[in-house]
Symmetry: C2
Subunit: 228 residues, 2 copies
DNA sequence: CGATCGTTTGATTACGTTCAATCGTTGTGG
DNA sequence: CCACAACGATTGAACGTAATCAAACGATCG
C-alpha cells in the first residue's frame, strides 16, 4: 500500500478509532485490490466474511430481485467503509456490491477482525457507530421514499453534495443519472422530468454539471408538502 | 420483575448471548416500566442513552417531520429489542418511539452496557448482530417501497405473520390498519382499496381478522412485476 | 342514544410509469 | 476521416396507481 492509500485509510472513522497499530495488524500487503467498472465485489447471499473500505472510486450496494432487476440501496464513495455488520449475523450478505467506477478497495478479513475485537473491545464501539450511521441513512431514505416527491428527492440528493447552506453552488453529478435515479427510487425517464421541474427553483442542468442559483431556496423546497 | 418477564427477557437473542449473570447485572429492580397506549418512550433528537426490550405490548418507531407528520419506520413486538445502536453514534436518537398498545418495557442503561462490553467483548457480537438484523430489515423495506405495489406490500406484510408456507391460513391484524398503512408507506384509503384488491388472490378481510385461502398463491403474487 | 373513532367507498386529481421515438455524444471500424 | 453503431439522456403520449377531498358507514363507549 502506498502512503496515499494509508492516509485515506486512517481518515476513515472506523480505522481512526482502531489506531495505527491495530489497523496495521489487520491490513496485509495483499489487502487492497483493483476493481474494474462494473466488477462485482460480493453477491447477495454470499457468506459475509469481510468488510471493505473504498480507497478510490465508488461502489453501489443493491438488492437483486428474482426478475434480475437491481434495486440500488446505497452508493459509497472513496474513504467510506461498507458491509461492516453483515458478518455478525447469519453470515450472508443481504445485498450485492459492485464497483461503479474503476476502484481500489481494501478488504478486512472478518475472522481477524472478530479476533481483534475480543482483544480490543473499544473497537466494537467504532463498529457499532459505523452500523448505526448506516441505520440512520437507511431511515432517512425510507422517510424520503414515503413522503417526498421525485423532484424533492433529487433536490435532497443535490444538497447533500453541497457544503454551503445558502447562495449559489455548483455540483458535478458523480455518476450516471440512471444510477442516481435507481438510488432515488425512480425510473430514468422520471428522473429526467423531475430534474427539469427543478428549473423553476433555480436549478440548471447541463450535461453532468448542475448549477443551483440559491441553496437556501432549494432547501426550502425539500421541506414543503405541496410542491408548486 | 416477575418470572414471566425474565423468561421473555432471556429468549431475546441479545440477552441470550449475554448469559444470565451479565444480564442480571444490567437489569435493576426498577428497570421495567409500564407505558400507556400512545405514550412516548423517547423522541427523535433526544440523547441516546439506553436500549429497550419489549416485555409486553408493541412499539412503533417513527420519524417526525417538521409538518408534524409521522413516518413509521418499524413496529416492534414483545420479545424484541430496539434502539441498540443509536447510542454508539453521535448520541441522538434518529427516530421517536411510542407504545402502540399498553406495554411493559425494559430499559438497559447505555453507560452500564458500554462498561459491560469492555469486560465481555463477545457481547459486542450480539449487539452487532442485532444492528445487522435491523439493517437487513430496512434494506428489505427500501426494496419493497421502490419496486412493489401497495397490494404486494400488504401481501408481504400478511405473509410475514404466517408460519405455514402453503395452504390456508388465518391472520389477526396486530394493530390499527392506519398504522399498518403508514408502516407500508401508503394512506389509509389506499390501504383499504389495496386490501380489497387482494380478494382476487384469495384474501378475505373481516374486521381485523384475515383469511388467506392459499399462502403459496399469495406468495407468488408478491413476486410478479405485473400484478393482474 | 348520540358522539366519536376507525374504516370504507366514491369521484377526481396528480404523479410516476410505460412504451416509443428522438437527440447527442462517444467510440469504432471501414 | 467519416459513417455508423451504441449508449445515455431526453421528450412525447397514454396509461395506471395512489393521493386527495368528501361522504357514509359501523362499532365502541360514555
Amino acid at each position: 500500500m502506498t502512503a496515499d492509500e494509508w492516509s485515506v485509510l486512517m481518515r476513515a472513522p472506523l480505522f481512526k478509532a482502531m489506531g495505527l497499530e491495530i489497523t496495521r495488524s489487520l491490513v496485509q500487503t495483499r489487502s487492497t485490490r483493483a476493481y474494474a467498472r462494473g466488477e462485482r465485489i460480493f453477491q447477495q447471499g454470499d457468506p459475509a466474511d469481510a468488510l471493505f473500505l473504498i480507497i478510490e472510486g465508488c461502489v453501489k450496494l443493491y438488492r437483486e430481485r428474482e426478475s434480475g432487476e437491481q434495486v440500488v440501496v446505497a452508493i459509497f464513495a472513496a474513504g467510506e467503509t461498507f458491509a461492516e455488520a453483515a458478518m455478525f449475523l447469519s453470515g450472508d450478505y443481504p445485498a450485492s456490491a459492485e464497483a461503479v467506477s474503476p476502484s481500489r478497495i481494501l478488504r478486512i478479513d472478518g475472522n481477524a477482525l472478530r479476533h481483534t475485537i475480543l482483544q480490543q473491545p473499544q473497537l466494537a464501539f467504532a463498529m457499532l457507530a459505523a452500523a448505526s450511521l448506516h441505520l440512520k441513512h437507511l431511515l432517512e431514505q425510507i422517510e424520503q421514499l414515503k413522503v417526498q416527491s421525485a423532484p424533492q428527492r433529487i433536490a435532497i440528493f443535490l444538497l447533500k453534495q453541497v457544503s454551503v447552506t445558502s447562495g449559489p453552488a455548483d455540483v458535478a453529478l458523480p455518476y450516471e443519472k440512471a444510477l442516481i435515479a435507481n438510488r432515488l427510487g425512480m425510473k430514468p425517464e422520471s428522473f429526467s422530468r423531475a430534474f427539469a421541474k427543478l428549473r423553476e427553483f433555480g436549478v440548471i442542468v447541463e450535461r453532468d454539471s448542475v448549477h443551483i442559483r440559491d441553496v437556501a431556496r432549494l432547501t426550502k423546497f425539500t421541506a414543503v408538502s405541496n410542491d408548486t
